[in-house]
Every structure is written in structure tokens, then in C-alpha cells.
């Protein structure tokens, strides 16, 4: 009876192969293992702060490589800590933004104005430079404009005159004009 049973099973297998339907074809352990050998091993449970890396080791193609850290900080950037210049971790967007936010924004201002500090870090104010075509009493002043102002002041205050009191380049006398209140070509905004 036992021989007959094995024979019947064999016949059944042969009959199933004859149908060509793999769903009815038993398979072997070695076949299963050969099919699984080309598949990736289960990933380790390392959490979502690790990146999936390729392996670089031969004969471990069914595995992944050493994971890479994902970090949420560049360092304590509030204290200017950018000391980790060799770290291999990859950084989250928020950490990069925090690092960039600690740096100076692009500086813009009026052409030829001087930058002055403010009480707010990262913010600059500006100050004009006096020009002869402008009337900035509170502008900074160039050496040339200072020179012009002195010349204008002298010429305005002291006038060379003749004996009749008329202006004359050949006059032997000088008239002092007590009208140096505004240096006309320099700063018409000067209050005096």
C-alpha cells in the first residue's frame, strides 16, 4: 500500500507539471533559497535619523551599508558655533536655516552713503556724504568740501578794498564783513 501511495503522489505531481500551472507545482527549499538569495535583507530598526547607504563591502550586496546620521543642528549657532567642520552627518533643513539666519543678510544702501551701526544686530543704517549739490547739514563731509568751506569763509569775511572802501585786488586795506553766518556754497542749511 505504501509503495502504491508514493507512486500515486508521483503520478499526481507529474500530472500537475503536465498542466504547466506553477501554482500547482510544489517547489523545493533550495529553489526558494536561490530565489531569496538575490533579495535585500530586512532593514535594521534604526529610526528616522539614519540614512540608507549603499554597502561598499563585497559579498554583502543583499545588505545595506553603514547608516549615515541625520542631525538637527549645525552646532550652537546662537553662539557662533560652527566648529564641526569635519562631521559627516547630513543636516536637516531647519538646522541649515538656523545657521544661515545667524549670518548677515546681504547689505544694501544708497550709493555713496556711509554705513553706520544700529542697535539691532544685522541691521545697518546709513549716512549721506555732503556734496555741493546737496544741503545735508547732518551729512558727513569730505576733505574737499571742508577746504572749500574754509576758502569761502575767508573770502566772505575778508574783502580787499581800496582807500575808498571799494573792493579792489590792488587795495591796501581789508574789510572785515561780519556776515559769516552762512557759507553759501557749502551748507545752506546751517542754522545760524
Amino acid at each position: 500500500m505504501r509503495k502504491i501511495s508514493f507512486f500515486c503522489l508521483f503520478c499526481a505531481f507529474v500530472a500537475q507539471f503536465a498542466y504547466g500551472d506553477n501554482n500547482n507545482v510544489p517547489t523545493s527549499l533550495s529553489y526558494v533559497e536561490s530565489k531569496l538569495s538575490g533579495k535585500l535583507d530586512k532593514l535594521p530598526g534604526l529610526g528616522n535619523n539614519k540614512m540608507l547607504m549603499y554597502t561598499t563591502t563585497s559579498d554583502t550586496e543583499h545588505q545595506v551599508g553603514t547608516p549615515r546620521d541625520i542631525v538637527n543642528t549645525l552646532g550652537d549657532v546662537s553662539n557662533g558655533d560652527y566648529t564641526d567642520t569635519t562631521g559627516s552627518a547630513v543636516v536637516e533643513r531647519g538646522a541649515i536655516k538656523a545657521g544661515i539666519d545667524a549670518k548677515q543678510d546681504a547689505i544694501s544702501g544708497t550709493t555713496d552713503y556711509v554705513a553706520v551701526y544700529t542697535s539691532t544686530a544685522g541691521t545697518l543704517d546709513e549716512k549721506p556724504i555732503y556734496g555741493t549739490n546737496t544741503n545735508y547739514a547732518d551729512a558727513l563731509v569730505t576733505a574737499g568740501s571742508v577746504n572749500d568751506a574754509i576758502v569761502d569763509a575767508v573770502n566772505s569775511e575778508l574783502t580787499q578794498i581800496d582807500a575808498s572802501g571799494n573792493a579792489s585786488a590792488n587795495g591796501m586795506l581789508w574789510k572785515i564783513s561780519d556776515d559769516i553766518t552762512v557759507l553759501g556754497t557749502v551748507d545752506n542749511n546751517s542754522a545760524d
Binding site: N22, T123, A153
Partner: protein
């Protein structure tokens, strides 16, 4: 052997296998294995660069992609390390801070946090103020005040005579001095 005998043997085999009630001893088919294995990811392979990240394939089950992690910034699609970002940020200007209202000036290390003061018309003409920059209006006032202090009317209100006063440096040209003659 009759068909009945064959069916009987088959049923016995199924019953004996089912009695284990666990998959470990349940026979399965090649088709099932092929189907299930076909759902799994093939080996993703090996790279020579230890900085190669795995990315998804473009089609399900296809070849995985890769992205390189670089140790310095560049104009490409690579990822970068924290070290690379910090190295780049270390080369950038921190937020500028300095004495409020002062002009920004350089020092050996970059920007000087004190800067250069601007002459304060309400302050004293101290040594610190001497080193300050000055506004055009204060220069103007200084010149006016200097002349007025240097030349004073000797017989007001006619002012046909004038005194020429000797001045001490830095004393008469104080921009904050009032112009007493006008």
C-alpha cells in the same frame, strides 16, 4: 490503480500535512514562491564610494538610485555634510553689530564693533570727539565760530575796528559754540 484510490491517497496526504497547522511544514507551489519573491526588492548592489545614499527606483522594484554626500559645497545635486555647511558658513559674515550711530570701520579681524563715532554736537570737545568724524553742518558751524572768535568787533555797533584774537588750537573752532556775533 483506480481513480478512487488515487483520490484517497491524496486526501490522506492533505490531512496529514494540515494536521501540523503551521506554515513551516506546508508545502507550497513554485508559482506562489515566484509571485511572492517577485514582490521583493532585489539586492541594491554595492558602491565603491562610502558616501553613496540609496534613493528610490523610478519604477517599483527597479534598480535603486543613488545620491552622493559631498564634504564641500558645489553646484550640483549632491547632498552635503554638516562639516561642509559649517566650513562654508565660517567664511560668511556674522550679523553686523556695533555701537549704535557710529560709522562702520574695519579692523584686522574684519569689522570693528565700535566703529568711528560721529561728532556729537551736544557733547564736549573731548579727545574722543576729536577723533570723531563730523557732519557738514558742524564743520560749517566750526568755521563760523572760529572766525567770530578770532575776529571780534572792537567798537560795536559800528565795527570799524576789529580785534584779532590769538586762538588756542581746538578751543575756538568748537562747532557747538554759539555764534555770538550774529
Amino acid at each position: 490503480m483506480s481513480v478512487k484510490t488515487l483520490m484517497f491517497v491524496g486526501v490522506l496526504a492533505m490531512v496529514s500535512v494540515g494536521a501540523y497547522a503551521t506554515g513551516e511544514n506546508v508545502l507550497t507551489s513554485k508559482g506562489y514562491v515566484d509571485t511572492e519573491v517577485g514582490k521583493k526588492q532585489n539586492d541594491i548592489g554595492r558602491k565603491t564610494n562610502t558616501n553613496t545614499v540609496v534613493t528610490y527606483p523610478t519604477t517599483a522594484g527597479g534598480t535603486t538610485g543613488e545620491r552622493t554626500i559631498s564634504t564641500e559645497l558645489g553646484n550640483d545635486t549632491n547632498l552635503v555634510t554638516r562639516g561642509a555647511i559649517n566650513t562654508a558658513l565660517n567664511q560668511k559674515q556674522g550679523k553686523i553689530t556695533g555701537t549704535n550711530g557710529n560709522v562702520a570701520t574695519y579692523n584686522a579681524g574684519g569689522l570693528d564693533t565700535t566703529g568711528k563715532a560721529i561728532y556729537n554736537a551736544s557733547g564736549t570737545y573731548s579727545d574722543a570727539q576729536k577723533a570723531a568724524l563730523i557732519e557738514a553742518g558742524n564743520v560749517n558751524d566750526g568755521i563760523v565760530n572760529g572766525f567770530n572768535a578770532h575776529l571780534t568787533c572792537a567798537n560795536p555797533p559800528d565795527c570799524t575796528l576789529w580785534n584779532v584774537n590769538s586762538l588756542t588750537k581746538n578751543t575756538a573752532y568748537v562747532p557747538t559754540s554759539a555764534n555770538s556775533n550774529n
